[in-house]
Symmetry: C2
Subunit: 407 residues, 2 copies
């Protein structure tokens, strides 16, 4: 949570942090500016003080929506600097010098926010070289901002829950859309007798997302049969919708303007399911139920990935635990943190660099799955979990988990 | 254009370029992966060769939509590396070593794509230190990717034109929405007699954008009176819609999934306009007409900003040419490149670091404006321009420029 930033700075020996760049597509900046709807901004937070938002002159009023202390960048003679210096880099170094002088910042400064990587490298090396009073700091692993964002307060969890509710409504409406079609030769058909396609369904889902006032910057997955057996295959537009095949519907929209995401997956078969799919579905269902009951604060997140692998192995499925490259069986990790980005901290992967433990405030997906490309089916069930300040497990998304949709 | 990448690499002494990071919110990655809808990717282009897309195993099929040569990251033992190394950075350095070895890349490599800036700094310094065969290169100003993206081919211009058409439709429908309301005490009112607000209109515009199947990641501006006098003020939800005040409607949606943007602004007054507004409007209108007729390939883009300032000064308005910090009169630059990002190359600002000249393929906005916060009005007229391969000027957006909307 944001109030942890001071403590995080202290732990990493930082005198201040800087978050920089555009706001769109840059969750750290949305986070620091409280979604104020700016084009670009520069936020500085000195340890022990409130953050300062340095904004462009033309955004001086929009910046007020952040609730932060606002400084117009022209206070630092930015426009004049750009006119004086033939190299933009020289102007930026001087601008940073003036900002740090003005805010009396010396010591190590952590730099965050998404910008072009080569540009960042040039800028931060130049700052490190030319500004004697500060030392540049970057975090390769979990950044200070990542760490703060990893835990959510009640208000943030509520926003995810609301998006999750709309997301579940969309799943229900999509199933009703499918059920409103007739069946011919084991396929759904439209009024004119032509087959309903995955592409038609994609369009309907896009309409439903828009009607809910949500955005879909990452693009949902609605895939059938073989495609469902490859986790991030979004579905092939020309595919017809056949009865008895697994359909994976994984949908992860966000609030408009770059806000909080929800992330829900359901798998279903229309009309009937084969026995092999029924068995695998039960395994995924049981696995998710077991995991949802198992989360405990203080436990390493890796442990849940290990438990999931153990569970699936015990039911006879290959997993990434025994073959890191397997493309059959359980092939990904159990979940990921969720918030202003669709994938954020905490991670659940079972690798030594993952030192996360489950903490109050963590908000993450629980999404075991089984994939068999050779047998042309895949199954995944996904819900979103929040750990309350008291350490209680709250499942934020609620939609039935029926494998077979009766037609 | 993309085919210029080889030449650009040569000019900068680069043996190869790397584009990295998520796809959402990262236009360089959308550009290099042709909008394939991946979560994250790693694209390497060796000079003189076709680009290679290195993808996660779970995205191996989605990656095919890029049309690029695909390599599954597991070819480089990525999953095992993450298990062997206790530090993620060490795994990433080794991964880069294997990729560059495999593709026989030595020499200077340019790094692009938006990632966390501190993380980029740590990673690129580590690569520069540990990989003896390569030297890290970053561009602070116009990157190689920026330079390629700055010029658009016919297909790209067509996409902007199509989004522009929908955008103009939305402006028309919004005006019809306003006109469908009754007037009481010089304000628009709803059926129940309560005043129509800016917030009501914002919601209607959001619906219209969704109906067109467009996305609005940056958030449009629909502001009235004082707010219209501060360029990036998006409008205050509670404001009522009064006759005779200037309304700025600046709308810049993009194709779904992070594609091309259009960017159009119209300014209007409902019912009537004051004489001061009429005069200033005419100045902006005349200025835009003059600039649209003046663009010529080979001319420095700065020159158009100078011409705009000269024009407005000649009509008695203050400009940034004489006072870089002015908040009254003409306070911004004439336009900006437009494409996969709302602000990209070429820039038009009149600063020495701007060495752009107008080139065939450039696609940019032409948006002169006048702002008078003390007099509570602002005016901006904006259209999108593309320079064809033959050097012809095409205005891609077409909507009437009437100041007064009759009620």
């Amino acid at each position: 949570m944001k109030h942890e930033l001071d403590q995080l700075m202290k732990e990493r020996g930082l005198a201040a942090i800087v978050v920089q760049g555009s706001v769109a597509g840059n969750p750290p900046m949305y986070y620091m500016t409280n979604g104020a709807g700016l084009t670009q901004a520069y936020v500085v937070q000195k340890r022990g003080e409130e953050p300062v938002l340095i904004c462009l002159a033309i955004e001086r009023e929009q910046a007020a929506a952040s609730g932060l202390r606002i400084v117009n960048v022209n206070r630092y003679g930015y426009a004049e600097l750009l006119r004086e210096k033939s190299e933009r880099l020289d102007a930026m170094v001087e601008l940073h010098r003036r900002i740090f002088d003005d805010l009396a910042i010396t010591g190590h400064v952590g730099f965050y926010g998404k910008i072009d990587q080569g540009r960042a490298w040039v800028l931060l090396n130049a700052l490190d070289e030319h500004l004697d009073e500060i030392g540049v700091h970057g975090d390769f692993g979990v950044t200070v901002i990542d760490a703060a964002r990893a835990t959510k307060d009640e208000a943030e969890a509520k926003r995810v829950r609301q998006v999750g509710q709309s997301t579940c409504d969309i799943i229900g409406q999509t199933i009703e859309f499918l059920r409103s079609h007739a069946v011919k030769n084991d396929r759904l058909v439209k009024a004119d007798g032509s087959p309903l396609t995955i592409g038609d369904t994609h369009q309907q889902i896009q309409r439903l997302i828009a009607e809910k006032g949500l955005e879909d910057p990452e693009g949902f997955i609605f895939s059938i049969g073989h495609d469902a057996a490859v986790p991030h295959n979004k579905g092939t537009a020309d595919d017809v919708i056949e009865l008895g095949k697994t359909i994976i519907f994984d949908i992860f929209p966000c609030e408009p303007g770059g806000g909080y995401f929800a992330d829900v997956t359901r798998t279903f078969c229309l009309g009937y399911a084969t026995e092999a799919v029924e068995c695998a579905y039960q395994d995924v269902y049981d696995c998710q139920a077991q995991m949802l009951a198992a989360y405990e604060t203080g436990e390493p997140t890796r442990r849940y990935q290990q438990m999931t692998c153990d569970f699936f192995e015990s039911r006879g499925h290959p997993t990434v635990a025994t073959d890191a490259k397997t493309e059959a069986g359980y092939v990904h990790s159990l979940g990921h943190g969720l918030g202003l980005a669709i994938h954020e901290e905490p991670r659940f992967s079972d690798v030594p660099s993952n030192t996360n433990v489950v903490r109050p405030g963590h908000l993450f997906t629980c999404e075991p799955g089984l994939y068999y490309p050779d047998r042309a089916f895949g199954i995944r069930i996904e819900d979103d979990v929040w750990i309350s300040p008291e350490g209680d497990i709250h499942v934020l998304t609620d939609f039935p988990k029926e494998l077979v949709i009766e037609l």
